[in-house]
Amino acid sequence: MPEPSNHSMTTSSRYLIVLFVVAVLASVAITYWTTMVKQDFVILNDLEEEEDSL
């Protein structure tokens, strides 16, 4: 398979990718905090409705 002959990436692109990875990690961490730790989400308790309809 032909391999990339020029792997060089501009410094600004490198910074951008590092920034992106940090942003991904931060976003995942905040999501973990709100869902798993704070349990900050709405639960639609539709179990009874379902039972009623049955």
């Binding site: 398979m1 032909p2 391999e3 990339p4 002959s5 020029n6 792997h7 060089s8 990436m9 501009t10 600004s12 692109s13 951008l16 990718i17 920034l19 992106f20 942003a23 991904v24 931060a26 976003s27 995942v28 905040i30 999501t31 973990y32 905090w33 709100t34 869902t35 798993m36 349990q39 989400f41 709405v42 639960i43 639609l44 308790n45 539709d46 179990l47 409705e49 379902e50």
Partner: protein, 544 residues
């Protein structure tokens, strides 16, 4: 207030519960194993390449997505559902972005420009910012244990997917036709088709799930991954892509084995039909690849055998020609030798002093010529196994002494001392006296004289364990380690041997070895290095 949980038991080992249909395990594990297998296979063959690294990252991300999905089906905990679902919403567009980079790097052989990177960053940014908000997941429906998707998950991700798939398709359509060779075009086409097939089936499954709330349908989308793996495997076999030498069909066999064994776990007839149909497709793909490989291998082998036969014929013809030329040249040289000998001995009348010197030189050179041609012919006979040996028992001690005496004049001419030391005893050897004398002993002693500028040549004869041992030791130029490796090989000359002995053909020791071995003996050489002399030892079985 009691903790709210979905209406089934807690999952075991995160992935097993009564809520997980067997088909989910089947579709996810087959896809994960085939993806990781392919990624690791390509990576193992070229760990430093950027494309193999990206492929591995791509399939790893996909595998995390697939495992999160199995967890989602198995768990009864709302928090786990919300977190895993959010992660999936993030991973999907990242997989697409990676696929874009992968194909770009593959086609253009360089990273995309800063501008492209910024565009992709901007495209993905809303996902990162709004992932933990209700714009992503609005709520959780407890009865189905499913998240109710917000606009980010329901619309924006699919917009991102569509843009990136279109970008991949456009990139392929623009770049592939311009690739220089047919092979490169086909590999790129298979690679691109595999990627797009996988991404489209992945997205279409998820779109169906998002809009119909029937997530069972979306599982079929995962079968795009084995298709992608199969196309990559085909590229490896057919075009030797990704520098992989081993047949990629091995990978398909593993996937197939998983597919077949998973039939055991299925209880519903409908699921069995689906799996059997997919297994059939895999068998067809694998069969096609295997048959094609075997056919090509057979054709290659037949071609090699044909070439080998032709080569053998050509070698035989060349050897015959060499033999003929050798005999002709030897005949002429022998006649010249006779003529010069007659002139030298005065058969054609008295020659004056300058003419006498000239004739003697010509006679010596003609003898060298005859010897060289004889060596070449003998080496050729030895190789073809047509040398015949006389079998007689003779006094080896006398033969050694006779040979030393024959060569004494040439040693004295160079100012070398030539000595012979013989230990007491009988030295009867059975074999070809002439060949052992001329081609072995004479050769070794002659070499010692030729390659010793000053000092001595010592020939010794001893007996040990029923063997007659001749050692020819000199104080000459010695042998380097490099030269030792091809000392007794055909045409094997020392690196600088022609500087010392211009008539060296490189066949003398090869012939000597052949003759000694034909007498069940051994020949060896030792030297402490250049300038430190050398010792050649011949061991022959002695009958008395």
């Amino acid at each position: 207030m009691p903790e709210l949980l979905c209406p089934w038991e807690a999952s075991e080992f995160f992935i097993f519960s009564s809520n997980v249909p067997a088909l989910i395990h089947y579709s996810h594990w087959v896809a994960t194993v085939s993806a990781l297998g392919m990624g690791l296979f390509i990576f193992a063959h070229n760990p430093k390449g950027f494309v193999p690294r990206l492929i591995l990252l791509f399939v790893s991300l996909f595998s995390v997505w697939a495992m999160l999905d199995v967890m989602l089906w198995a768990t009864n905990r709302p928090d786990t559902v919300m977190f895993s679902w959010s992660l999936q919403v993030l991973i999907e567009p990242l997989t697409y972005a990676l696929a874009f980079y992968l194909f770009y790097l593959y086609l253009y052989k360089q990273w995309p420009s800063f501008r492209t990177n910024v565009l992709i960053f901007i495209l993905l940014l809303p996902l990162l910012v709004f992932l933990p908000t209700t714009l992503n997941l609005e709520a959780l429906s407890l009865s189905a244990c499913e998240a109710i998707e917000g606009p980010l998950a329901k619309y924006y991700t699919y917009i991102v997917h569509t843009i990136l798939v279109l970008a991949i398709a456009v990139m392929g359509a623009r770049k592939i036709p311009g690739l220089p060779t047919r092979r490169e075009r086909l590999v790129a086409l298979f690679f691109g088709l595999g990627l797009v097939t996988f991404l489209l089936s992945f997205t279409s499954g998820n779109i169906m799930g998002s809009f119909t709330d029937d997530w069972t349908l979306s599982q079929y989308g995962l079968f795009g991954m084995p298709v992608f793996a199969a196309l990559i495997a085909y590229s490896i076999v057919q075009f030797k892509a990704f520098n992989a030498k081993v047949i990629g069909a091995q990978m398909l066999v593993i996937i197939l084995a998983i597919a077949v064994i998973s039939l055991v776990t299925l209880q519903e007839i409908t699921s069995v039909r689906v799996v059997a149909a997919l297994t059939f497709v895999l068998v067809c793909a694998l069969g096609y690849i295997l048959v094609k490989s075997v056919k090509r291998e057979v054709a290659q082998r037949e071609h090699i055998e044909k070439l080998a036969g032709e080569l053998e014929q050509t070698n035989k013809r060349q050897e015959g020609l060499l033999h003929f030329i050798g005999h002709e040249v030897k005949g002429f040289l022998t006649k010249d030798q006779g003529a010069f000998a007659a002139l030298s001995e005065g058969d054609a009348g008295h020659l004056d002093a300058p003419a006498q010197i000239f004739v003697k030189q010509a006679l010596a050179q003609t003898r060298e010529g005859v010897q060289s041609v004889t060596d070449l012919l003998q080496a050729s006979n030895q190789k073809s196994g047509t040398v015949t040996y006389k079998k007689e028992t003779f006094d080896f001690k006398a033969l050694v002494a006779e040979t030393v005496e024959k060569l004494r004049p040439s040693a004295e001419k160079k100012g070398l001392s030539l000595t012979l030391k013989v230990a007491d005893g009988m030295y009867a050897v059975t074999g070809d006296k002439e060949k052992l004398g001329d081609n072995v002993l004479r050769n070794l002693i002659d070499n010692a004289i030729n390659y010793t500028p000053q000092g001595s040549v010592e020939v010794s004869l001893t007996k040990r364990d029923g063997k007659a041992i001749v050692a020819v030791k000199d104080t000459g130029v010695g042998i380097s380690d490099e030269d030792k490796a091809h000392l007794f090989t055909e045409g094997g000359k020392g690196k600088d041997s022609n500087k010392i002995n211009v008539h060296s053909t490189g066949y003398g020791l090869f012939i000597a070895k052949g003759i000694v071995e034909a007498h069940q003996g051994t020949i060896s050489a030792s030297s402490e290095g250049p300038g430190k002399g050398s010792t050649f030892i011949v061991e022959l079985p002695s009958v008395a």
